[in-house]
């Protein structure tokens, strides 16, 4: 071993001049949902980043094209698995558009309320996890505690905490429980309390702010050209929210604002999501107020909606209807449709083609995360290695959506 105190003439010790290659992921605690980034580093500065999705590949769309139209619901639960209700409702709306059917008002309010709860869960997870990855563990616990409240409601309503498979063509699997309004009304206030506490811990923290501010900034024009939607696009100042721009369900009848950022950096994305949680609370409160307590939750189109179980067991008509819908699937009229809703991360689009049979001919999904992750390299090239964690965290890439 050479002594350390020897005088080295300049240039005598050869430092490597080649950039260093580093694999970040696919198995890395901060690389959610198995994504891999091949980095070329000069010191700790990222020279080049190659973002590779595809480590989570299930042949998602092909799986959807095997069963009946109704059997797609459990699959779409596993797109953005932090807010499966939004995916469920989005798919149901797409098939309903193809069939030309409308669900009852009560169902529309219910779908909106559940969907906004899911959006809160989505944003809490994203912001909480990002803070945790920067070392702020306490706010994460606060946010997850709030998320538990959302999931408790969803469990009460659907029977499952995560993969509900609760949507149905022409309605929902079950009507709201008797306690739904009370539960949701109380929970949103508690959730907001927790969010505010967690927020106070972070937004006055110099280190946290320094790690976020001016990190991973993108211009509005770039974000639009990359096909970004959702909070990531809105953080750049573009107020495009499908709920406002192309209202579906009853979004044109409720009051809510679209929070936007100014600089398009990681901090703006963090703040946009916090703002949206507050807006979701407003929407949920309006839904609770306006959702009727009585009335059907499903439309009465026997071509797509299952009969009552009591009819199935006692009348031949009910048995036949049940048999046809389960064994052959609802016969969706031949044609194609593109239907899009505001998912947790942006525009969640379904392009469906029907050949008139009980099985989808084509299910093409436009997940918001895929386009957003496609822009990740632009945000991190030229920045430090450590900036990847908050930048990637604030994009909220969900592996299940990037299955392409």
């Amino acid at each position: 071993m050479e002594p350390l105190d020897i005088d080295l003439e300049e240039g005598e010790l050869e430092l490597p001049a080649e950039p260093m290659h580093l694999n970040m992921g696919p198995s890395h605690p901060a690389m959610h949902g198995t994504v891999r980034i091949v980095l070329e580093l000069s010191g700790e500065t990222i020279v080049k980043a190659d973002v590779q999705v595809g480590y989570l590949h299930r042949g998602f769309e092909k799986m959807c094209e095997r069963g009946t139209w109704a059997q797609v619901f459990p699959y779409v639960d596993r797109l953005n698995y932090v807010s499966p209700m939004l995916n469920n409702v989005g798919y149901a709306l797409a098939v309903e558009k193809l069939c030309g059917i409308a669900v009852p008002d009560r169902c529309q309010w219910y779908r909106m309320a559940l969907g906004e709860l899911a959006r809160i869960s989505d944003h809490l997870t994203c912001n909480g996890a990002m803070a945790m990855e920067l070392g702020a563990f306490t706010p994460f616990l606060w946010f997850v505690k709030a998320r538990e409240m959302v999931w408790d409601i969803l469990e009460e309503e659907t029977g499952a905490r995560l993969t509900h498979s609760f949507g149905r063509i022409g309605g929902m699997a079950n009507p709201p429980t008797a306690d739904f309004k009370a539960m949701a009304g109380t929970a949103v206030n508690k959730i907001l309390g927790l969010v505010e506490e967690g927020e106070r811990m972070l937004l006055k923290n110099r280190i946290f702010i320094d790690r976020l501010q001016n990190v991973g900034a993108i211009s509005a024009a770039d974000a639009v050209s990359l096909g970004w939607t959702g909070p990531c696009l809105r953080s750049t100042g573009v107020a495009y929210d499908i709920r406002k721009a192309h209202p579906y369900l009853k979004y044109d009848e409720v009051d809510f604002d679209v929070p936007v950022g100014t600089r398009g950096d990681t901090m703006d994305r963090f703040l946009c999501r916090l703002g949206e949680i507050r807006q979701s609370k407003r929407i949920i409160e309006q839904c609770i107020e306006r959702m009727p307590d009585e009335g059907p939750i499903n439309c009465d189109d026997p071509r797509v909606v299952l009969p009552e179980k009591s009819d199935v067991y006692t009348t031949i008509e009910g048995t036949i209807q049940h048999f046809k819908l389960i064994m052959e699937g609802a016969k969706v009229p031949a044609g194609e449709v593109y239907s899009y809703t505001e998912g947790g991360n942006g525009e969640l689009g379904y392009y469906l083609v029907s050949d008139g049979s009980g099985t989808p001919y084509r299910v093409r999904i436009r997940p918001p995360c895929f386009q957003i992750t496609g822009g990740l390299h632009r945000l991190i090239e030229g920045r430090m290695l450590a900036d990847i964690v908050p930048t990637f965290g604030a994009l909220n890439m969900i592996g299940g959506e990037c299955d392409h």
Binding site: T315, I316, K324, M327, E328
Partner: protein, 530 residues
């Protein structure tokens, strides 16, 4: 040849056609239960009611009816056109029929459907027809209502044994009388009839008789609902798990076109259904033929045998090589089989005559049997005509027995195991048999090579009227069985020859001298109600 209009669409018709039949020929289905393209029309199910537009200058025939006004709760007098059954309305030039486009017709279908299901039991989960039932299809297409009647439905006899093959369920029956008409009109044995009236109606067998004969399965096949079921298929499979392949019945020389229904999960055939072919079997098949699907599994040769003991195919081929070493070509007898396809027989003729140089060709097959004037042929082999086409001078099997007895033939290469004669004397010769089933020629063979049955490969068969028909593969080969033509190619190789056939396509090209093969007609667009 004229045309009439159905919902504005011109439909050509032939003299004597009814509206429903002309539409059916064009692939347009007017909903029906009792009508069948091969039977007379009693017009008793009322499902095919259509509206006939009045001729220009004529008044429409209208009926006065009372209609309930939902707002006032009172009945008010209105008029509706007199609807006509499409199965009984003769097609005529310039006729204008309104079917799907007429509200009156749609309402009539809806109401007829509700009427037919009024007393229907909740049987779908235990009914064999479920999945291919007209009541299910039409409820979704034309009904879509919920039960209004809350009374106890009328109960009728269930599980009535009509004979050795058929079981009847009175509650599921819609009284279309297709089975009654089939027995009277096609089978010429009017053994079925109906008794009582209205909702006490049921189908019965003539007193002192049972439903028997050679065409009982067809009563189940024509039944549009689950009222008649065959004991053979009852509770065996759910139809939505079955896949189907166009097949040709192997039971006799008529060569009836059939659907072979099989379950790919178990590689098992479950039933035969007739496949419509106006030129051969029309819409029908006989009982014996419909049961031949079982031969895909029963009595099969699945492994090679040398001297009666199971052996590997390689060892069996080795035994063939030893047996035929140094044998003069004149001493080899070639036995073609009327049980096997043209392709298999062609490969054997090619190997025997062109490569080995044998001069003696013989033909074998099952013995003749019962025949009738409807479908059943006395020749029980599907390809007798094909063998005589391939080898016009083929000698009967008796000649082989004589030649072996006289010592002129010492070695025999045989296809198929069926024989009409006692072939025990062949034990004095060296017999190599390539067979799918156990039988006399396999029993006397010193080497048996397993061949696939007709259901496991595609093959061409020539029926008694000289029509070449292709039967397609349904099942995967079982055991070590391979198509006979492939086994023959391997036999050629071990005997030191080069086989020119490696694919069915090559054989088919040779068979016809390059001409394209005449396929059996595809199943009709609008398959008649099953």
């Amino acid at each position: 040849m004229g045309t009439f209009k159905l919902d504005g669409k011109p439909i050509p018709f032939e003299p004597g056609d009814t509206v429903i039949k002309a539409a059916w020929r064009q692939g347009i289905e007017i909903p029906h239960y009792c009508w069948h393209p091969g039977l007379s029309a009693p017009a008793n199910c009322r499902m095919c009611l259509v509206e006939i537009a009045p001729k220009p200058g004529q008044r429409a025939v209208m009926l006065d009816i009372l209609e309930l006004d939902a707002k006032t709760g009172e009945y008010k007098p209105v008029q509706k056109p007199k609807l006509q059954p499409a199965c009984y309305t003769p097609a005529s030039e310039g006729l204008e029929i309104i079917s799907d486009n007429s509200d009156h017709v749609r309402k009539a279908r809806h109401d007829v459907q509700e009427f037919l299901l009024l007393n229907h039991p909740v049987d779908c989960p235990i009914c064999d027809q479920s999945g291919e039932c007209k009541l299910q299809d039409y409820w979704l297409e034309h009904g879509q209502y919920h039960k209004r009647m809350r009374d106890e439905p009328i109960h009728k006899p269930k599980g009535v044994v009509f004979g050795k093959t058929i079981v009847y369920d009175g509650e599921r029956c819609v009284m279309c009388t297709r089975c009654v008409r089939f027995m009277a009109e096609v089978a010429k044995d009017p053994v079925l009839d109906m008794r009582e009236r209205g909702n006490l109606n049921e189908i019965i067998v003539s007193p002192g008789r049972e439903l028997d004969g050679h065409y009982t399965f067809m009563t189940e096949h024509v039944c549009p609902v689950g009222a008649l079921t065959t004991k053979d298929f009852r509770f065996k499979a759910r139809v939505w798990f079955l896949r189907t392949a166009p097949s040709v019945c192997q039971g006799c020389a008529t060569g009836c076109n059939a659907h072979l229904d099989y379950d790919p999960r178990y590689n098992r055939a479950y039933r035969y259904r007739p496949r419509d072919n106006e030129k051969v079997n029309k819409f029908w098949m006989c009982d014996e033929g419909m049961l031949t699907y079982k031969e895909a599994h029963e009595g099969r040769v699945l492994e090679a045998k040398v001297g009666g003991a199971v052996a590997t195919t390689a060892r069996a081929l080795d035994a063939v090589k030893k047996a035929f070493a140094g044998v003069p070509p004149d001493a080899v007898g070639i036995v073609l089989s009327a049980q096997h396809s043209l392709e298999d027989n062609w490969a054997l003729r090619e190997l025997g005559v062109a490569l080995i140089g044998a001069k003696s060709l013989y033909g074998a097959g099952k013995p003749e049997g019962y025949e009738d004037t409807i479908l059943i042929h006395r020749d029980k082999n599907p390809n007798t005509k094909g063998v005589s086409e391939l080898a016009p001078g083929v000698k009967p099997l008796q000649a082989l027995l004589d030649d072996v007895a006289a010592g002129r033939v010492t070695h025999v290469l045989a296809l198929g195991s069926a024989s009409a004669l006692d072939v025990e004397p062949l034990r004095s010769a060296k017999v190599v048999t390539i067979a799918a089933h156990e039988g006399p020629l396999a029993a006397v063979a010193s080497v048996v090579l397993p061949a696939t049955a007709w259901a496991e490969h595609t093959g061409t068969y020539v029926n008694s009227r000289g029509m070449r028909q292709i039967s397609e593969q349904a099942l995967q080969p079982q055991g070590s069985a391979r198509p006979a033509w492939r086994q023959l190619a391997d036999v050629a190789t071990v005997l030191g020859f080069e086989a020119s056939w490696k694919k069915v396509k090559q054989i088919r090209a040779q068979l016809l001298g390059g001409a394209t093969i005449e396929l059996t007609p595809p199943p009709s667009v609008a398959a008649p109600a099953e």
